[in-house]
Symmetry: C2
Subunit: 211 residues, 2 copies
DNA sequence: GCTTAGGTAGACAGACCTGTCTACATAAAG
DNA sequence: CTTTATGTAGACAGGTCTGTCTACCTAAGC
């Protein structure tokens, strides 16, 4: 079995407290190489601390994974919400073909283009550890729900807004998974996502017209 | 780190040749617990052979993983194509609300309900080993392309059929990922998938009408 | 000044990983 | 009958994994 490929062996700056360095190193390595594929020793090396220090701050690796996901959830959702708001603000509302979910497409494009993009951290964690770490499944569910809520802010409040936001969340998930596995597929994923989002938005408009 | 949870320690029947038993055991364990999380020793035990026998048939674990994915791809696509065809044949074509992608929704429902469902084997493998095993990414791409082709058989051949099938593929991926991670989410995933598929189908009909 | 928290270094236990080794058994094919 | 393929059993090497251990250091708070 091929092991430990692109380890990204950078070190966290020494000025920060140890716990923060550990978490930053874990965030980078866990996301890039997977929570299971990344050993504690690698986190130790990247954080520039010792193993004792890690285990003084976190009782187990599972706990470290849980805290990593918690932080990732908060920072990612904050970024996502802001990016959506910015994209919507920049959207020329009079533009032809403008639909309420278009900002989501732009944000997805930005996300996929980020260096070191490797898909959804939560979906990856679930795929890696499955149901063996209950905390992982729990936070993944919470995360997905928060994504839906963020997307819902793009939509006019109404009876079907929740369903539409949920559908858009699934569409995003599919595009993310595809962009992750992909051979030259970032653009293709975005194309498919656009098709889905436009279709959903059009259908919603038709529904509203019918009343 | 919690290890080896639901190992499903059944044994393959002794009547079959060793290579077949190995592959069947690998198929079950790799899918259920992940390709990385499953050690060769576990495959050995489940297949009822010895390690020497495994390594006489497969030069390395990576190779075994590749063959596993190859087989899974073939059997899964065969099942999928047939299930789609059956669902379409059973579809009362005069039914109200019938749209060409509806069989896909039914097949997804069946798939999610299968015992031991744990998402898309290829997406999971990519999430686990990432780019470290190039064969994994390659076959995952091939698989996704085959899924799109199978879905395209539901659609009237036309200019946009390929795009629609691709969009439906992404929608399915999203629903699968969600059903996998999910706390009581199989039904919610299907609901979202239905919303997406209906929207895509409606838009296609509108396009056709416009000519 | 003394205690306590947080840090360092590195060895260690016990487990699991992949892959190889020796040595023997069986059965079909030439 | 002999070769070759395929199987068995189990030890082994060398590595990685999580988590614990001893022993020492430093700086802030009381």
């Amino acid at each position: 079995m091929t092991l430990a490929p692109s380890v990204s062996s950078a070190r966290e700056p020494a000025g920060l407290p140890a716990r923060e360095r550990i978490l930053r190193a874990a965030e980078r390595l866990f996301y890039l190489n997977g929570v299971r594929a990344t050993g504690i020793d690698r986190v130790v090396a990247a954080a520039g601390v010792t193993k004792v220090t890690v285990y003084r701050h976190f009782p187990s690796k599972d706990e470290l994974i849980a805290v990593y996901l918690e932080r990732r959830h908060e920072t990612w959702i904050a970024w996502f919400g802001e990016a959506l708001a910015n994209a919507r603000a920049a959207q020329p509302s009079a533009a032809r073909n403008a639909h309420p979910l278009d900002p989501l497409l732009q944000v997805a494009r930005d996300w996929f283009a980020q260096p070191g993009f490797r898909g959804c951290a939560f979906a990856n964690a679930v795929a890696e550890v499955g149901a063996t770490v209950p905390a992982v499944a729990a936070i993944a569910a919470r995360h997905k729900s928060a994504v839906r809520d963020a997307i819902a802010t793009l939509l006019p409040a109404g009876e079907t807004a929740r369903d539409m936001a949920w559908a858009a969340t699934l569409a995003l998930d599919g595009a993310v998974a595809n962009a992750q596995s992909g051979v030259g597929s970032a653009e293709a994923s975005l194309q498919g996502l656009r098709e889905l989002l436009e279709a959903v938005a059009l259908r919603a408009r038709a529904r509203r017209r019918r009343g």
